[in-house]
Symmetry: C2
Subunit: 191 residues, 2 copies
């Protein structure tokens, strides 16, 4: 496949309920191909031990986040559990200008905001093999309280309901295969 590395820059939006392997897939794609970058979100939530600013998240104060929104420096943002999360425009524009592909791992609401600003963004919805399997995976996170689990399931159901809005859908019934299918979509849009 010589030439599959040749790119014009682009934006790829990946959504899907938590527990479908989105982050794992995005990280593997970024390691596979120097032209693929995995977007780092900005957040107001405090960093956890081991998290690196600029690598895991861009950690911002609430004031800084708010003034960046006002200056139009965020492509999308939303509030979860009292903390702000969003995507900074600058690294994204820089990647595209440099001919790289930037992948955003965001929810369906964020995806709508991104599409409003970048209508050519490639959208991929990552699905679990079945909703039953997803429930199994979400319940497997035993660190969560029953309340939090219920909330997760509710969110997952809401996310799944929007999957037909995406140009591509990939079922993650095998991680290697899902990685290849997403990679094939990304490289396919480059030609």
């Amino acid at each position: 496949m010589p030439g599959s590395g040749a790119t014009k820059g682009g934006l790829v939006v990946i959504s899907g309920p938590s527990g479908t392997g989105k982050t794992t897939i995005c990280k593997r794609l970024a390691r596979m191909d120097p032209n693929i970058e995995f977007s780092v979100s900005a957040t107001t939530r405090p960093s956890r031990p081991g998290e690196v600013d600029g690598k895991d998240y861009h950690f911002l104060t609430r004031e800084e986040f708010a003034s960046r929104i006002q200056r139009g420096e965020l492509v999308e943002h939303a509030e979860y559990a009292g903390e702000l999360y969003g995507t900074l425009k600058e690294p994204l524009e820089r990647a595209i200008a440099a001919g790289r592909t930037m992948i955003l791992d965001i929810d369906t609401q964020g995806a709508q905001q991104v599409l409003a600003a970048y209508p050519d963004a490639v959208t991929i919805f990552l699905e679990p093999p079945s909703f039953e399997e997803l429930l199994r995976r979400l319940h497997g996170r035993n660190t969560d309280s029953p309340d939090k689990q219920q909330r997760r399931i509710q969110i997952a159901r809401r996310e799944m309901a929007r999957r037909m809005d995406y140009r591509h859908r990939v079922v993650n019934d095998n991680l290697d295969k899902a990685v290849c299918q997403v990679y094939s979509i990304i490289t396919g849009t480059r030609r």
Copy 2:
């Protein structure tokens, strides 16, 4: 990528010097896709602890192997270090008839024998990022005697010399990427 699972049966030959990850890649492809089968070689060498007949190899006596060659039941065979290795025709024909893709992990000499019988076989040569990298990987196998290492390097050099005979060449500088590139070649030939 719906529909990429729809296949007509076929034969894929993967060659490349040992140490380039051929076996790992073939095993991952077979796990990814129920339509992909990884061919099990026949051999006269004794089974090692843990090896399962019919899964790791088809273990045959020398007499049985010889009579199968005479009956034309092998697609290719060769002798290494006093033991016979080869590919049985029957499982291969069965896979193709069932619409599956059979992958053969064989050396360049075996590949020539297979192509003589199946001219439509898709041929893929798996290359290390560089010959220096290959030497590093081969030397890393510390269980081998210096003599055996020298022999391995000689064979690797001879195999590499034939790489232009293959329809596709994939450089394994990243395992995930190599898996995706081989998968893309296999599914691409199906359409």
